[in-house]
Symmetry: C2
Subunit: 344 residues, 2 copies
């Protein structure tokens, strides 16, 4: 569809400005398939026609209609990334950790020329994800943060939907997960507490999230008979709710002498709540956070934390997903974890 002089001699566009492959073919005096071949880098076309077609296409600002293309092809070259914006809804986002992951995934997809469709996690049984595949919107999914969706993910895996998950790595999972060694992370924190001679530990985190449960398990394992362990759960895992939960807890419970928090953000909330109750780290208690976010080092006191090797995560997640989409298999992987000792 291209300019056609109207009754007044002025150029008129028949329906929109869009130029089709047929137009380019006509303008370049070749057939549609030839244009297609040129644009897809087929080796069959002559260098001369290739250049000519490319010139005409560029001159008219032509770009292949991706919807028509996707209709014909089996791949959509699009991946849906599912993120838990919900836990931040209405509030401020404090923990940049998940976005570092997102940045890594975006980069890795971009390198492969795959589009990234971003969506917020919906509740439900996974029917909507199946539909996205059936509707040929995306080729597969990357779930950032396992959260409480393990049952849904198991169902999805059984249906053969291609996806990978950032979260807890568990040999029983029937799907591919990539995550830090959460169990070891918990153990490292516990061993650190033992070395400091701490005996009354507290774990802050919601066990409904598999990756957090594993950190809890690691801590429990390290505690053995040498320490007692209480758990503080705040439904919503933000700075504010953690602060409130600990504040409430301290009102009618003795303070712990060691705290392992599920994130550095929660660790900061804990430090503030503890300070307001008269407990100072590292004098009165030891504290270990998780993620090693940039601020952790600059907070006062500087936070001892568990670092995950997340810079690789994006690339690994994408690579595994692509294997699945290609019909292959993909194994779960654990990324190294280490304790970074600072002031607390």
């Amino acid at each position: 569809m291209v300019d056609q002089p109207d009754q007044n001699g002025r150029a008129k566009r028949s329906r929109s400005m869009s130029v089709s492959m047929a137009d380019i073919a006509r303008l370049a005096n070749v057939s549609k398939p030839t244009v297609s071949r040129v644009l897809n880098g087929s080796p069959l076309v002559t260098e001369a026609t290739r250049k000519h077609v490319l010139a005409v296409a560029s001159e008219h600002g032509y770009a292949v209609n991706r919807n028509a293309q996707k209709l014909r092809q089996t791949r959509t070259d699009t991946v849906q990334v599912v993120l838990d914006f919900a836990s931040h809804r209405g509030g401020r986002i404090a923990d940049p950790f998940i976005f570092e992951l997102l940045a890594g995934v975006a980069e890795a997809l971009s390198v492969r020329n795959v589009d990234l469709l971003l969506s917020s996690a919906r509740k439900g049984d996974g029917r909507s994800y199946q539909d996205q595949i059936a509707a040929r919107v995306v080729d597969g999914f990357i779930f950032l943060g396992q959260g409480e969706r393990d049952p849904m993910l198991r169902k999805l895996a059984k249906l053969g939907v291609p996806f990978v998950v950032w979260g807890a790595v568990d040999p029983d999972e029937p799907y591919c997960a990539v995550g830090s060694d959460n169990l070891l992370g918990g153990e490292l924190a516990g061993r650190y507490f033992l070395k400091q001679g701490r005996r009354r530990w507290m774990f802050i985190g919601n066990d409904a999230h598999a990756e957090i449960r594993m950190r809890h398990d690691g801590l429990t394992k390290a505690a053995g008979d040498a320490a007692t362990l209480t758990t503080l759960t705040s439904e919503e895992m933000s700075y504010v709710s953690t602060y409130r939960a600990l504040k409430d807890h301290l009102a009618d419970h003795p303070a712990p002498d060691a705290i392992f928090a599920f994130s550095d953000t929660a660790a900061m909330a804990a430090i503030t709540a503890m300070r307001e109750a008269g407990h100072i780290a590292p004098r009165d208690y030891s504290l270990v956070g998780y993620n090693n976010i940039p601020f952790a080092a600059d907070f006062t006191p500087a936070i001892t934390t568990i670092e995950q090797e997340t810079h690789l995560a994006g690339a690994i997640l994408v690579e595994k997903l692509m294997q699945l989409i290609d019909g292959g298999r993909a194994n779960s992987t654990t990324l190294p974890t280490r304790l970074i000792v600072r002031e607390t």
Copy 2:
């Protein structure tokens, strides 16, 4: 395309498992257009046939092929969000501000049933954005962070590409921008410094970014003849680079008695660098950050900062973009800004 018994009597799928609208039509004993009407909520179909078709579709896990749909329709119902991951590449993401914006945009688009295609900012002349429209991939763009792209955006606006920008609001811009009142933000910081009796101010930020330049302008305006103003620019605007730049500066320059930083993250870097040079806030200097990120209140010392009303930003950006896509006009908007005085 549906199960067909093969030569051996076993069910065979002709090409893939996908079910088409024609299949559903046949199975429900109606025509294709009727199925289409049911799925699009047309009021013309009988309640009986509606229910029947829906039942058959659901039973077979049918979902409309979105590519075929988009090929026929004029809208793609997809919006591309462009983000500057680049400034964080390889490093850690410290400032969650831009992601709060992203969360807001995601939420607003989801409410309207519009897909969000996330992309990292590419350098270049905007040709790739035109192509995305021409290829009918997306209906329009939301640029989060104007950065240094103003010239490209002007070109894009001239071409009639629908887009909105989070960034500096300038009456001269030929496009729709939404942003906080950066000029006022700068003035607020300056007035605060004047009230504290500070005379040797420093601005930290890269003027190549229009929104930051406006904050600088506001500060300059407030300074008038009452204060001197130096500028510290670090190309890359991260915590680390700001820290280094200020550290280097302090090695051979006198320290300022007031600092206005382009972000709270930069403010924290400034506090650390100043402290290491023996300067303590608020004793020796005043400091104002920007964004009021959650940590700002919990940092030691608690950071005085400029707050932007970002919780509305996502919804506003999306609404304006939709107006443009609908062929209407959209005016730039400034969001309120206020000073939050804390310890610094």
